[in-house]
Subunit: 398 residues, 4 copies
């Protein structure tokens, strides 16, 4: 029986030309798999057809937008997951979902190999390959960009060589990855850390300082998940999409950072994630009202570790699953409304209300109605500080 390579297919030049190239190089048929993760652009049917035109024996298109939002973006919201306190894991959470569908396609279509387009110095190769090893280790992995130094130049030359009926688009200076959760941009001049990003690299966000009218919005959460915007019920996907629109229009969610890659180097990355950043900000603000102090303090450690595990390609690892169990157990009461003003690049929380609030007006107020018994403080202060008091006494005497 012929070997079959299941290829993560984007529809772009590189992976299109890779179809005949891999078939020849590996001596195998190619099954193209394309996921709609809300990345926009071309319609998916054209993508599907192009793979066939390029010689794929099967071309599968999957609308995974809701699955991505519910099973990948939502846990990221619940974990307030910002790698290095900034990056909402735009590409990192899409890889395991692509892995899942490639593996399913391999099982359904007799796949023996799996192929992705990542290079050998980025994070995504790790996320893809650890994903395959974790979920279907029998698949042989082919990474043409890394293993065969497959480049745009080579792709163009090969397309001409075999007369492939594919239009050659003008080469973009940007390396882009995008989905409904956000957009990642790398490009040559940003490899100088002193250079500021230029305006032309952005697509999900407008310039923030245009003088738009402020946009007041109320996001409602139930059990940690966004369920309504301005009182209108939404799915997680709809919440992200609407906030991409509205927060994007205000220039919210642009990131410019130097990132610690898993492979050991630092790299400059630009992201746009208006919906993601707004939802995480709102979710954090609601947790501040509904999650108890000690749990909240510990959850911040767990959240950070969750982000690192996912960034590091260990989505399918056992630690990730147990961190999920922790996080899920904290979300039961993360229910309520957050009012924000979206404006000029900032999403500012201006109000919060919740039937599950832990804020107690009578304990907090300094006005009449105060029910806090201040006489308790004296004993608390003394015992709270006793162990350090004893230590300082020893230090002075020693």
């Amino acid at each position: 029986m012929t070997d079959r390579i299941v290829l993560a297919y984007s529809g772009g030049l590189d992976t299109s030309v890779a179809i005949p190239y891999l078939a020849q190089k590996v001596g195998a048929e190619v099954v193209a798999v394309s996921l709609d993760l809300g990345q926009g652009g071309e319609d998916m049917e054209s993508v599907r057809q192009r793979a066939l035109d390029c010689g794929a024996v099967e071309s599968i298109v999957i609308d995974a937008k809701d699955e991505f939002a519910d099973d990948y973006c939502l846990p990221t919201i619940k974990a307030n997951a910002l790698y290095m306190k900034e990056y909402p894991l735009v590409s990192a959470i899409s890889r395991p979902l692509i892995v899942k569908h490639l593996v399913e396609a391999a099982k359904a279509h007799g796949g023996t190999h799996v192929a992705h387009g990542c290079t050998g110095k980025g994070n995504d190769q790790v996320r893809f390959e650890v994903g395959f090893l974790n979920t279907h280790p029998d698949l042989e992995i082919v990474a043409p960009a890394r293993d065969y130094a497959w480049t745009r130049d080579k792709a163009i030359a090969f397309a001409e060589e075999i007369d492939l009926p594919i239009e050659q688009t003008a080469s973009s200076p940007f390396s882009i990855d995008q989905n409904v959760w956000g957009r990642a941009i790398e490009t040559g001049y940003l490899e100088d850390l002193w250079n500021a990003p230029t305006k032309d690299i952005y697509a999900y966000t407008e310039e923030p300082d245009l003088g738009n009218a402020p946009d007041e919005i109320t996001i409602s959460f139930q059990g940690g998940a966004p369920v309504a915007i301005d009182g209108k019920p939404v799915t997680t996907l709809q919440a992200i999409q609407e906030l991409n629109e509205r927060a994007g229009a205000q220039g919210i969610g642009r990131l410019d950072m130097v990132e610690d890659r898993l492979v050991g180097i630092k790299s400059r990355e630009i992201y746009e994630a208006p919906g993601a950043m707004t939802l995480i900000r709102a979710h954090e603000a609601l947790e501040a009202v509904t999650v108890e102090r000690e749990l909240a303090r510990y959850k911040r450690l767990v959240d950070a570790r969750w982000s690192e595990e996912v960034y590091d390609g260990l989505w399918f690892g056992p630690l990730k699953r147990s961190l999920d169990a922790f996080i899920e157990s904290t979300q039961e009461h993360v229910t309520g409304d957050i009012r924000m003003v979206l404006h000029a690049g900032k999403a500012t929380v201006t109000g919060r209300r919740s039937d599950h609030s832990l804020y107690d007006f009578n304990l907090a107020t300094y006005d009449s109605g105060d029910s806090f018994d201040q006489t308790l403080a004296k004993g608390f202060v003394k015992l709270h500080g006793l162990s350090s008091q004893i230590a300082n006494k020893r230090d002075r005497e020693a």
Copy 2:
């Protein structure tokens, strides 16, 4: 010998009238101690004189601005210290410095008691009192607001009763604490979490959306400390002051949060800290370039814990000192320049450069000059994922 109360004296009505009140109530002389922490307002000599006018036997004024900046704000910058990821510890770091000077005054002037104006439901009483217990536990602590329910109304009545020559200022609806590092505001209507702050509560920051011209700034750090702004050498104090001006003019550093108090309740807090937030943001950006990944990941945990210890009033505790040792050891190479644009409420990092950078262009670039050996990735990926691969295999089989 007569007992002497060393009083943390602000110059305001409450602590002014507290001078004769405490003298009578405790049967002791009062030594007033006032610190200039850059809080602005009245000149300190008037403050000093007022304490004497109200009956203090000694009135001491200390210019502690540089000490505060160097020994309290700077460690906060090095720790990127934001309690609950937001609050730069404005009041929390001022308390231990006040404690230090009150204790020195007690030693110099025969103090037997020490007094502060905090209530029994806030954090500051804990910070003051644990500070005293840790550094001079023999002092008896008096907290009139908590222990004698000393209020503004009582103060006014008592001032009239004893004919105290003090002007009665119009009562402000706000409860304010401020110093050069920032300003904290509490007020009645904000005790409803759904209410947004009104513009009149701010003093350190302009409204962010005024259409000011963007202000580009370059902050230079050496060993984690800000040492120059736009190439002009500055002390830490000058750096904070200049950024309070320039970032404040752009509306940067406003915070509106629900905070987990040490005494177990949640409270609504508004802060303005334009210099603090800008400096911490710049410092973090420089760390991203100069601190190695594993160290940076761990430091984020240590930073968070440092913030909690300081928030919780344990500045003088042994853990805080050891966390300092960790943090200090990470700062040696945090040297370089951060360029930011201050505008419309946001401080955006647009460039970074450092002779101590860990960013290696040749390893990072996707262009020619790439020196990263991509063949290493395969072995890395397989062993990086091996333990989870084995676990997933077991899970599938079990």
Copy 3:
């Protein structure tokens, strides 16, 4: 309606005499509640009757041994919970169960107050009272030892004064708390840290150096719970009881430590916990075989924090519940057999086997059959060390 005090009743002199004392002092009826937690000693029916003889209006005895084992000891095993790496939380886990039953009794019998016998400088008062505040904050708490300085001497005097028909037992020099999970001993001469414990203080363990024959034992676990000993099915309670016998006979599980109390002081504590220590040791050894590395590393942090939360009286707190969720999620595959030799004070693991093992002979062996691909190591080593390599290069150059 008359107030009713629900009293945690041990049957001993102090709490017996406290029945009429509290009734008089508080002006309330007393409901005595006694739990059988496997502490041994007197039969529970005599205890029940004595409370009535002393004037209790109700006397309730509850056999909570299995509940204690299943819901309190078992989570302690799953968390490998040793506070300060030593103490298996003997008293700490019994308090929340007592709280639970006292609250139930209060609800069933009209209780308005709840009373316990703890002093004001130990941990147990905190565990009791935080437990009541967390589960039934309307109950008024009475702690006669702390609030009324109720001592043995006072109890004897009061018993004589009111002619209480209770035998006065010889006063023991030891302060003991015991249940099936272990036994805690405090006594005067051990308050000198240089003094070694004498043999007469032990009751659950024989002297370890008696020259007994070694006792080989196989403990089987399923999902983290002990389910069989030497092939014979057991409940958790039976496992603890059998190991108390067999490990106790070998002198296993004696602890002598200086402990950091929640109230801020250090104290000297002696414990015996033969079953607990043996089960935790076996459980840890099985986890080493069945839990993946990264999960195991993180679980050790979670375990430590779980121990601290429970020690600190926060059994009912939200963080404890979320830590439980994490831990529970790690136990699914902690299934298999641990063989140990119990002898001369030590429980030594000598073998482990599991269908859920992550140990892969073919990957581990250095003999023929080795399936580990050593060529992968080179790439792994280089990228594993790359970030520190870059940092060291920078350091040398700087």
Copy 4:
């Protein structure tokens, strides 16, 4: 100029024959470097001569025992470093010291390559090679066992082929690594986890159950370092050596564990480390008396992470250095005496005394002299439990 390989030379058959083999294979001269780390066995002069006999152009022997004890074992004591709570890092801490001396030899003797004898599936290759990359990345690394599948059989065949004047010792079934800090044993039959170790594998420890007289010992520490035994001053090296003798004679320090290797697999390991385990146990007991609670709790996390970093071959990494700074800052007051009884496989702490003790008899005692103010407890309990009380109230109502 001729290339020169600096070889980590043990004197055994494999590395002896590797000298001419590597010279031929790489086309380079071999410089043999042997470290005396207290591993015992052959005298070092014979080792030195053998390398020359086998064709080394230089043969260097270094007495690194004190350096090893002071700069590698002592930090391990201060960190109470037990990987997976068990393994005192016997081999892990020796590798960086060997790296250091090989690099120095390379600089002194024109080394261009460096060679070690480790396989491609263990931890030690990582520790060696990351060490070289971190400290002298220009050296080319040769690992004959991994890169050329260099085995004992090959070594014997090659020795015969070239008529190498080397005695062929009887092949041991054990794979051993040993130094003054301990001894690591791997062997075929132990690769079955159900098999118990046999007595013949031990060399540093006697069988524990021989009925020896108990050995009472007092270890004195200053600033975390052992400085005297039974009142007689010792260096760190002497402390380890004396305890290897005395604790080894009592069968103390045997470990049998399943270990999580850095390369992703689990392996069975047997260790003997009588001195190490006794010193760490004593050091922990002294820390319990002299380190404040919050610092002690956090230090346990730092200690665990230190162990993992060192186990993972990151001795020279920046995180390790900052963890050292934390740990070092905790040791100032770890000064005092620990009395232990060494007997029958156990080192039992029976007494501790210290001028730097934080144990306060008057606060701890239940007898007369008690200075603890029990009235403080009430306020402490209520505020300590307040945040969870509010959360539980919310949970009941929700």
